[in-house]
Amino acid sequence: MAIAVFFVAAAIAVLGGIGVITFHQPIRSVLSLVLVMLALSVIFLLLSAQFVFAVQIIVYAGAVMVLFLFVITLLGPARELGRGRLRYQGSLSAVFVLVLLGLMWTMLQGVQYRQPDKADLNFFGTVQAIAVGLFTTYLYPFELTSILLLVAAIGAIYLSRKHIDEL
């Protein structure tokens, strides 16, 4: 059962990924990426990462992708027309990506799996388990994340500031 779920979700994710890079209209790329994220959230659930599953749907497929859709509606439809200015862009990209995939394939062959820690799988991945990690061992990184978000918010406000002054 789990194997079937994995392969269906993986096929949807790969098809969505192909859609992201082949559709000519950005809005279709965004919707394909939403499909990829939903398929990945199913895979997170298979890997007993319940909280990451919820965050993936709420924050990623919900908030971040809606942000992309807003920007597309703001800018209007833009299609890629004609060929790029770089010569051999497609073939050079294909070479680079094939090298990258070959590298990742060789790395995958040499992965040394460590013995698992034998955690309690009923507790693993729950909100409680995440909270124990975030508020004890990783308290400082967690608090620093809030500073990162503050900086990003200030940056976004600054970038659109002069247009507010014009109103």
């Binding site: 950005p26 990426l33 990462a49 971040v64 703001l74 890629e80 862009q89 680079f96 990506v97 990162l148």
Partner: protein, 109 residues
């Protein structure tokens, strides 16, 4: 090879890593081939998602929560990156049409 017992079925950890590698490769193709800056940002998000899948897969294989915590951190960074990237993009689009990223070459040395 390390098989994971998920709901009574045996799934191999390397399948998840292979899926992640394929998605990362697709994102890399998108960044290199596409010329619409918005689609390039979308492809970067795809690559970040592929990296998250690797983190969560190793977290499950090692039965160690740290991978999932790191995936949450990387989601935060991805959200911040999307906000700032889109703000820059909207700012550029207000001044000029930037449907092709090759047109934005004023800073070229």
């Amino acid at each position: 090879m390390s098989s994971l017992n998920i709901g009574g079925s045996q799934l191999d950890a390397s399948w998840f890593l292979l899926l992640s590698a394929v998605l990362f490769g697709l994102g890399a193709v998108g960044v290199l081939v596409r010329r619409n800056p918005l689609v390039i940002l979308i492809s970067i998000e795809l690559m970040l998602n592929a990296a998250n899948l690797t983190l969560v897969a190793f977290s499950r294989q090692l039965q160690n929560m740290e991978g999932q915590l790191f995936a949450l951190m990387s989601m935060t960074v991805a959200a911040a990156e999307a906000v700032v990237g889109l703000a820059i993009l909207v700012d550029i689009f207000r001044v000029r049409d930037a449907e092709d990223i090759d047109d934005l070459s004023e800073l070229r040395g």
